[in-house]
Symmetry: C2
Subunit: 301 residues, 2 copies
């Protein structure tokens, strides 16, 4: 079973420097990372915006991965651009600039052919737009959402509103603290469940990830990587692996979510091994299976 | 099978302040934490020094836990004292003072009745003293060692010498970086194995712990704690749980070490839930079993 999966998010050029090298004009953006990652599991439909500077090669690449681009608006103007520099300890980075360009006034337009998509991933955009997208969908069976500190701090009311409508929230440990005011992971999770959110995933980067459902907790370590080269997009690839796998599941019970979390960790590791989207282009299904087994063995007592 | 286990380390009074309260003159020190933790699994023999200010109650307490105190020297003078204050994020602390007192000139004296102890834990003291203790033992079957950044920076030659003679090194992730110069966990571990160390445990506090043996890697998350109250001694309790369990094993293969690591994580969690040694006094074997099952379930896909 491969249930189609819709993603809304950014389409970007990234200028990235890490201790292992430099890349300019690299393909990036949450919707691109998510789509390529999820494409190993299911058929992805992308909603986003790019400028007239976006290369045809990139569009052809998405098509090669059977990603539906009917919802990818190409408009006169410049594509979103982000620049960042990672520290020697690659877990830390400085944002050098964020040029929103066309993304600043992005109003998502959901093609009719997308409106019955059963699985929806609301990438990290303004909560008001996330609500808008959801209002345009016809009863999706599973909705996941990513957000960031900017929206927690500037649009909390809208964010809390959209959180009522989703099945799964994916955030990192810092965002959990900002969103709930709780330093303690378990207390923060309790707080989110009390808002009515069924499943919560807390991404902790190299320290793995938690999946929480009421009193059930599951943990997956990060897949150990010998040379993490560029962490940009790892969180989106994590989400892509997780939601992509879920789209192949008959139901969305805790056991399905657990396996999905492991695929998330795997696709995150694939991402960080290379610059930009290169890791996602070099992987194959055998290597994904192989990493699943390795993660299983890593924690099996 | 309960193989006797020798520990050498500090015996201390701690003055501790955390966001959850304050304790003065609390019983502490690596040898005390280790002994009480390991006592749930095996018979512990302690080597250490305390002053004439050390209370009889504390000595009686150790006896109640069947800890052999023949090697606990009580000398005229003051016991080692440490003061620390934890931040709101309890993973961080400031040391307020360290009064070594009698511990400054401690020369471990191994009683004859201890010399054939099969399991040895060399707690965090000068590497030269660790070597000295080992030279006094008659062919122990398993030797584990803890150390700290102070010895990595000031006594590396002696440290590298004693590392040749042990079976298991327990350090934290910062110490791994300082000892090997490698930022990457896997590379740091490879480096340590190339020195001839068979097993390495990397403690990452709330982020769990790794066990490494050549190309085998095993990971255990921290046991999730709703209210960590005082992390002082958690690393020593981790070591106590791990080595204490190993002392019940027929052999020291990777499978035994894996289970031992899980017991380490459990006893670490027991420690942080209460001030000083209180958590260790409140636990029982059923709760330890219960936590083993919970940690198993937490990671089982």
């Amino acid at each position: 079973m491969k249930q189609p999966t819709l993603v809304i998010g950014s389409v970007a050029f990234d200028d990235v420097e890490t201790p292992f090298g430099k890349r300019n004009n690299a393909l990036g953006g949450s919707a691109i990372y998510f789509s390529l990652s999820a494409s190993y599991f299911t058929n992805v439909r992308i909603v986003g915006i790019a400028g007239s500077d976006y290369p045809q090669d990139a569009i052809d690449l998405l098509k090669n991965y059977e990603i539906d681009i009917d919802g990818l608006e190409i408009k006169e103007g410049k594509t979103f651009r982000w620049g960042g520099k990672y520290h020697e300890d690659i877990n830390f980075r400085d944002t050098l600039y964020t040029d929103l360009n066309l993304f600043a006034d992005f109003k998502p337009n959901i093609p009719d052919s997308y409106k019955e998509t059963p699985i929806v991933f609301l990438g990290n955009i303004q909560p008001a737009l996330q609500i808008d997208v959801l209002n345009n969908m016809k009863k999706p069976s599973f909705v996941a959402l990513d957000t960031m500190n900017l929206w927690i701090n500037t649009a909390k009311k809208d964010l809390l509103k959209v959180l009522q409508k989703i099945d799964l929230l994916l955030i990192n440990d810092t965002e959990l603290r900002e969103l709930t005011g709780e330093l303690n992971l378990l207390k923060g999770l309790q707080n989110l469940h009390s808002l009515g959110i069924k499943y919560v995933v807390i991404k902790k980067g190299e320290h793995g990830a938690y999946l929480s459902h009421q009193s059930n907790l599951f943990y997956v370590p990060a897949f150990p990587v010998l040379q993490p080269t560029d962490p940009t997009g790892a969180g989106d690839c994590f989400a892509g692996g997780m939601i992509g796998y879920l789209a192949t599941c008959e139901n969305f019970d805790f056991n399905s979510l657990k396996k999905a979390l492991v695929y998330g960790a795997i696709m995150g590791s694939v991402c960080v091994e290379h610059f930009s989207i290169d890791g996602l282009l070099n992987i194959n299904e055998n290597e994904i299976k192989n990493r699943f087994q390795k993660l299983h063995d890593l924690v099996t007592i």
